[in-house]
Point group: C2
Amino acid sequence: MTASPASPPRTPTPDPASVRHAVEHILDDFLATKARAADDAGLPGEIAEVLRGFVLSGGKRLRPVLCTLGWHAADAHTDTPPPPVLKAAASLELFHAFALVHDDLIDRSDTRRGRPTMHRTLAARHRLARGPAEAERLGTDTAILVGDLALAWSDELLHTAGLAPARLDAALAVVDRMRTEVMYGQYLDVAATGTPTDDVDAALRVAHYKTARYTIERPLHLGAALAPAPPPGLTEALTAYALPLGEAFQLRDDLLGVYGTPDLTGKSALEDLREGKATVLIALALRRAAPRGRAVLRSLLADPDLNEDGAATVRAVLDLTGAHRTVEDMIDTRRRDAVHAVESGPFTPPVAATLRDLADQATRRDI
Amino acid sequence: MTASPASPPRTPTPDPASVRHAVEHILDDFLATKARAADDAGLPGEIAEVLRGFVLSGGKRLRPVLCTLGWHAADAHTDTPPPPVLKAAASLELFHAFALVHDDLIDRSDTRRGRPTMHRTLAARHRLARGPAEAERLGTDTAILVGDLALAWSDELLHTAGLAPARLDAALAVVDRMRTEVMYGQYLDVAATGTPTDDVDAALRVAHYKTARYTIERPLHLGAALAPAPPPGLTEALTAYALPLGEAFQLRDDLLGVYGTPDLTGKSALEDLREGKATVLIALALRRAAPRGRAVLRSLLADPDLNEDGAATVRAVLDLTGAHRTVEDMIDTRRRDAVHAVESGPFTPPVAATLRDLADQATRRDI
């Protein structure tokens, strides 16, 4: 990677695959150390082990990749992200593990990434020693704690990343904001789930906080905050890219939640409907359907016993009202807005290319 | 407070009452600002409001007081804790609010400090708009999130306290340890609750992590870490004071859980027995009771329908086996060990006197 004296100056190219690899290694190492420290102290090392299994079982590492991209965008001359930047990026994955564990508890989800969710995994561990009801209760209670630890440890990984004091200070300010935003988004989501309405703006607000800011914007901002001298206007350019892309990403996720297959999404295509998730897709359909269609939707959505026939009926209404089509159009508009922001932002050509790639991947059907 | 040129040099005296006052003011201000910021952004300000109600509804502020005491012990010349130290101390109360909210959820407790617990408060808010079952579910789900926010905000209050980088670094190291310890302690507690055994050591281990380290030792260490040049041996002296005192504090709490009145404890004296809390008191009784007494205990403990008559029977076994008396003796031994550590530690007379007062208060019946 070192340039020979004769080489022309080169523009560093982001390498998402190597970031993913480095992040997995950091997480593996951090959690293995935690498990060993617990074992040595006579404490339950199983918590760190179970979290390690969860964190390393998949995931696209989108947030760490975005974080290092934000850093590349702010530091145009260094070739690869140094260890403190990679550790800060990895801390986002531990935070995300926290968010998923509590989210799955709240949604009573059984599967995540094609595997049992954390509270299910923990309940299964207790089933031999306790009765099924008691194992269930213990699974839920210990999953709250495992999530709490993941949150605390995400901080610890960030604090101990080896950042210079001024960089840590800037990073903490972004992370503080990110955490408050995602929890507010989740709160709005929880309060709306189970009673979907035709309020498209309310559904978009959840997507804004839970996804656009949390998943896309703040990871980019965190990365930018880790560089000593980001170019002027960078934060705003990242926001201009992130917010439409994040909404598009959530809209795609909403479609996949209804039209996807377990192979693609790692969960049943009945789950969102059974929970009664208040998505833009559903809000549009409720707004547009004739009274009869609306009544059909209201009777099927949030029914915990909804079967495949019922789901097919819901999908028919979503198609007939054009809600499905409109959401595809909304995704496309937003993807294009994001790409436009890349073109007008202060990005080097390799960073711009990677941002465009990510925008495509994040809004395609197969992510 | 400024000494006139003629005054002799004085040794600063800790003032717990003014620390409590300052901490309440900081918490009130921090959460009011959060609520306003949410309202301004069209986000649910009710979360910060409900947390503010919870945090300001009582509590002895033991951890912030200990934190400032640790600081006094490490900085013998400054008269009153400066604002960054008070803010760091206050951040412990927000962390404690997080711990209590999730703890009450896990224990399915209805009351805390004589008022409804967080999930009960939140369920009540939803009862008008939703049915009772749905309100219950929402209360639980949003209480998880409110706890999560309290944890994130405790960090934010610490990060933004205005500490010098080296002090913040030292503080974060203590806080990282404290959080891991209390969550492990809580995990051990959760795993043991419902099936109490005669394992006295296991019960003491929970007390060690959940109370001795979390409630007493780490707040003192945090305070010491906030001073630029703590005297040699201070950390160890604080530990020598904290660990026996913390165990004694937990043992007192266990006794109050069985023998206390709601007036004194803010909760029913049936709750710990109904949950089947695996305390030292219960472990001793199970170890010592004759087979018949043990059978009686096993049939009554962890019975969610236990009534006053059943509780009286449990208390009779605790008295007859001498478990009650032994726990009182254990408290006394530990209180004396703590006081002895004060006498042999590097403390100024006013700091030593305050540490002794706290040891008395924390182990007395009426705390």
